[in-house]
Symmetry: C2
Subunit: 303 residues, 2 copies
DNA sequence: AGAGGTTACGGGCAGCGTAAGGATC
DNA sequence: GATCCTTACGCTGCCCGTAACCTCT
């Protein structure tokens, strides 16, 4: 019996197929077949029922999987507790929503890199819907996205919310929402849809909306006078300083709720640690923003 | 990280030396060295402190050993619960006191062989003192011996006691203990010493004792008229039928207490199972003996 | 026919034992 | 110098991937 055999067996059990496990583990399908065969020979009992399409566990297979899960949990704990963070060598496939990229992602990566210098990153920026999908496909280890993901298999660490604000071009003092386009997030995102619903309720169907999958492009459009924007307040403070200004049409969209989400089963200790660090950094960032915002408001009042 | 590395690490930790672990595991000493080195490289942290004679665990080593113990416990449970007994292939090094050999060992081996046909035995018959020693040296997996062994590392399953009885040659109606030798167990056993002390207290130093490391030889000596014997009652009933008889000099030695003892750490599931089976068989055997003895007494009374 | 699993087979490399080389008492 | 561990170095054998084969729907 080897850990590799047990790990392989668990993937076969979880995914319900040798083929799928092989794909997941980046090895050939016969290799997986062989590992299972060796494990069965070692234990002297069949573990898989190969009668139907794919495979299912035998009674012994079920018992084994329980104990094997325990073992893998202990292994994870070893990797998390015994290995000093600065010697952790791993790959963290990180999915990030653009709002995060534009706010505290650099700070987060810096901190993570400082404590875990040997961990390599693979960062993909995408809309939360796709990130969630990749998380389920297990092609992402951790997603910093609009959340939480309400699925039993996913662990969510809640992050500070982002308050939304209206932005106008600096030379458009009193925008009329029924006449200028409203620019916001990508069409397939939740804030876009909430905004659209709200706008329709308030102003009817005449509202024109532009969506941008790039936040900086969205801000650029506002700055260029193409329309008004609905974006997180903290982003507006630095994306186009001097070219845009906040305004208040009388109502605000609901704040954006974010989470650091990762698959809980099998648990990835690094992802869990990184998620906690993300919360830490994000909360610091939120405090700083509030402080600087207060300062700015104070300054603005004087101005 | 492999199970073999963890298992090796635990032996090194337990025995406090790479050399000792290698000896225990029947591999070369550099092989153990290398396994530890690989494990340390994998975890990116030293696990052993090699400054002094032998080795001691670092802080990380202690943490690892806790988790590794957990893992090995799970592995043991797999071997015990998932593997069907009839497919268990293992070596059970069994140490047996001769009293057991002469009473229920055959029945025990038969039952064990029936439930665990693929387990091979290595049986050594010796006096309990030596069996205990070999248990500590880990050259025995299970000892059926006079017990219990009062050491924190040893698990004891208590077995039925053996009542002692006095035996005389059939043609020596009223033996005089001050004039005929008393024959019993080997000189280095507890019953021999208890008997000797008791005899000295009752009859003074004039008593002559013969000891035999072989029970059948002891009985043979009694049958041949060399002296009287003190042996378990149930054995006398069949060792020399017709040539010896019980008699009562007015007092009886204390019964012999037996146990099935095995090392509890690391736990050997097969040894534990076998110990339970031993208790079962021994208790059945005791019940049968009592029954046949009652029958015989009834017959004797009629005779 | 195609999806999913097993068997067959050559090749690479992980890990073993032997033997020699430090370090520490 | 004795004891204990590490390093060096061939060699074996395990396990992988490729390819062909089997077996269901």
């Amino acid at each position: 019996m080897t850990l590799e055999q047990l790990r392989t067996f668990l993937w076969v059990a979880r995914l319900g197929g040798i083929r799928r496990a092989a794909l997941q583990m980046n090895v050939s399908q016969p290799a997986v077949s062989n590992r299972i065969a060796l494990l069965e020979a070692d234990l002297g009992t069949p573990l898989l029922d190969r009668s139907r399409k794919g495979v299912s566990l035998t009674k012994q297979g079920v018992m084994l999987s329980n104990h094997a899960e325990q073992i893998m949990q202990s292994v994870e704990r070893i990797r998390a507790e015994v290995v000093p963070p600065e010697n952790m060598t791993a790959l963290l496939r990180l999915g990030v929503a653009e709002t995060i990229v534009q706010s505290w992602l650099p700070a987060f990566l810096g901190r993570l890199r400082a404590t875990h210098p040997k961990v390599t990153f693979e960062i993909s920026v995408d809309i939360s819907r796709n990130l969630r999908e990749h998380l389920f496909e297990r092609t992402l280890d951790l997603a910093l996205m609009m959340g939480p993901v309400s699925d039993y298999s996913v662990e969510n660490v809640m992050l500070p919310q982002f308050e939304m604000a209206w932005f106008r071009p600096i030379d458009m003092p009193r925008p009329d929402l029924t006449r200028v386009p409203v620019i916001s997030y990508h069409r397939d995102t939740r804030p876009y849809h909430e905004l659209r619903t709200e706008l329709q309720q308030r102003y009817g169907n005449g509202i024109q909306m532009f969506s941008s999958s790039s936040l900086s492009a969205g801000f650029e459009m506002v700055a260029a006078g193409l329309g008004v924007g609905v974006f997180p307040r903290t982003l507006g403070q630095r994306m186009q300083p001097g070219r845009i200004a906040e305004f208040d049409p009388g109502w605000m969209p609901t704040p954006l709720s974010f989470s650091a989400s990762y698959i809980g089963h099998p648990r990835d200790a690094l992802a869990a640690k990184a998620a906690d660090l993300a919360r830490e950094v994000a909360e610091e960032h939120a405090r700083l923003r509030v402080a600087s915002q207060t300062a700015r408001q104070a300054f603005g009042a004087k101005d």
